[in-house]
């Protein structure tokens, strides 16, 4: 077997998960001939706007290119949404500007304009509710979009915050898992000053969530729920640009002839040019994304991959839950080698696979598995 197909993806690239429910063997984005498909959020700004629209309009299944009035909007709802945008983004939008934008995609473009580096890595995915907040750590992509179905499945009473990578938030890249965890703990404590905390991480986010729980324990702050969703303690991720460029193409297209053909292109620059064209064609990136954005996304992946490859999780004493999706156990250690002290880790198996476990179909089942471990009190 050629080396290029051999790396052991102990931590698999989570950015490949879409927020839409996609059958395992389908090619979700190739040659669609049906009615216009829903366009899911592509970054944290679109995700937060979508949650606001969803909460205010009480409608599921909104896409970021849907027109406000087509999904049940009215001038009263617009007033409420403009108020929430002012609260969450600290930006004032005039009502006529809101109406002329008309879609989440266009509103996000306005809000991104002139944006400086975010002051926090926290992305409020679901705000409000009486329960203790749950904080979910980004995956290899550095983003938190794939948590939206889970946040919704956990119900309206469960506040849910994402923690996105500093590079995605517009700041400098963090180079180690410990540095990432330190930053996210600090930002999380700006939302919830004192523990007990609830932290979860899917795929690559698991190791970072683990390190956060260790650092919180050192600070005398308990973590009442540490939940790892199909996460591995050790990673051996490829560190070449070509690999990540090809994977992004696969993410956009699925397993099809065109994805294979991109992997055959001679140089990274040619691949990136193709990737940009495809990304726009399948609506997986905001309209202003170009080659520089793709390079930035690749750098972000590589940076997190490098950090994970050298991270060695420390022993942790506290309640932890591992939700596994694999049908074939890695070995006799059901906990995959997570260094939980005194048998503090429980393991639950899911019938999903790594890539659909966070989709809309599986999210309610994962939420059910998580719920007994989450606290009902603030």
């Amino acid at each position: 077997m050629n080396d290029s197909v051999a790396p052991d993806l102990r931590t698999v690239p989570d950015e490949l998960v879409t927020t839409a429910a996609v059958p395992r063997h389908s090619r979700p984005y190739a040659r669609s001939t049906g009615p216009p498909r829903r366009v899911n959020p592509r970054d944290a700004v679109e995700l937060q706007l979508l949650q606001i629209w969803r909460d205010v309009l009480g409608v599921d299944g909104i896409g970021v290119t849907d027109d406000f009035f087509d999904v049940g909007g009215s001038s009263v709802y617009a007033l409420v949404i403009v108020g929430l945008i002012r609260q969450r983004f600290r930006r004032r939008l005039a009502l006529d500007v809101f109406f002329s934008a008309g879609t989440i995609e266009a509103l996000a473009g306005l809000l991104r304009g002139g944006r400086r580096a975010a002051r926090t890595c926290v992305v409020p995915i679901k705000v409000g509710g009486p329960r203790r907040p749950l904080f979910a750590v980004h995956t290899l992509a550095g983003t938190v979009m794939h948590y939206a179905p889970l946040a919704n499945a956990l119900g309206t009473d469960q506040p849910f915050y994402g923690l996105q990578a500093t590079g995605i938030a517009g700041g400098a890249l963090q180079r180690t898992v410990r540095a990432m965890a330190r930053r996210y703990v600090s930002d999380m404590r700006a939302v919830q000053a004192e523990g007990p905390y609830q932290v979860c991480g899917y795929s690559a986010g698991g190791a970072i969530a683990w390190e956060m729980a260790c650092q919180l324990a050192e600070a005398g702050q308990p973590t009442s729920a540490l939940i790892l969703i199909d996460a591995h303690p050790y990673s051996e991720l490829p560190l070449d640009d070509s690999y990540w460029i090809d994977l992004l193409a696969h993410r956009f297209l699925g397993f099809c002839r065109e994805a294979v053909d991109i992997a055959r292109l001679p140089t990274d620059e040619v691949r990136i040019a193709s990737l940009v064209e495809i990304a726009h064609r399948v609506c997986r990136v905001p309209p202003d994304y170009g080659p520089d954005e793709v390079r930035r996304i690749v750098r972000q992946h590589m940076s997190i991959a490098e950090a994970l490859n050298v991270y060695r999780p420390r022993p942790y004493r506290g309640p932890a839950l591992l939700i596994r999706t694999d049908a074939h156990p890695d070995g006799p250690d059901e906990t995959r080698g997570w260094p939980a002290v005194d048998g503090g880790m429980r393991v639950v198996r899911s019938g999903a696979d790594h890539f659909n476990v966070m989709g809309e179909t599986q999210a309610p089942l994962i939420a059910d598995a998580m719920r007994p471990h989450l606290h009902t009190e603030p």
Binding site: D246, F255, V260, A263, H328
Partner: protein, 68 residues
């Protein structure tokens, strides 16, 4: 990943051998280079790449020229 030298049978799962779903398109590229074939879109389906035997049958069908 299996240990080096482990016998690989036709029923061996590609996933168990470390060819993850998201490496399949690169795997296909290598198959095409090695066997000088071009696999059609209709055959680029995860279900056709479950086991080593599946892949062998697919490659043979292209070598015989009776594939899509």
């Amino acid at each position: 990943m299996p240990a080096v030298g482990t016998a690989i049978s036709p029923s061996a799962s590609l996933q168990d051998l470390g060819v993850h779903y998201y490496l399949l398109f690169r795997f296909v590229r290598e198959l095409e280079n090695e066997f000088q074939i071009r696999i059609g879109d209709a055959d680029l389906d995860y279900s056709r790449f479950d086991t080593v035997g599946d892949v062998a049958r697919l490659v043979r069908s292209y070598e015989r020229g009776d594939a899509h």
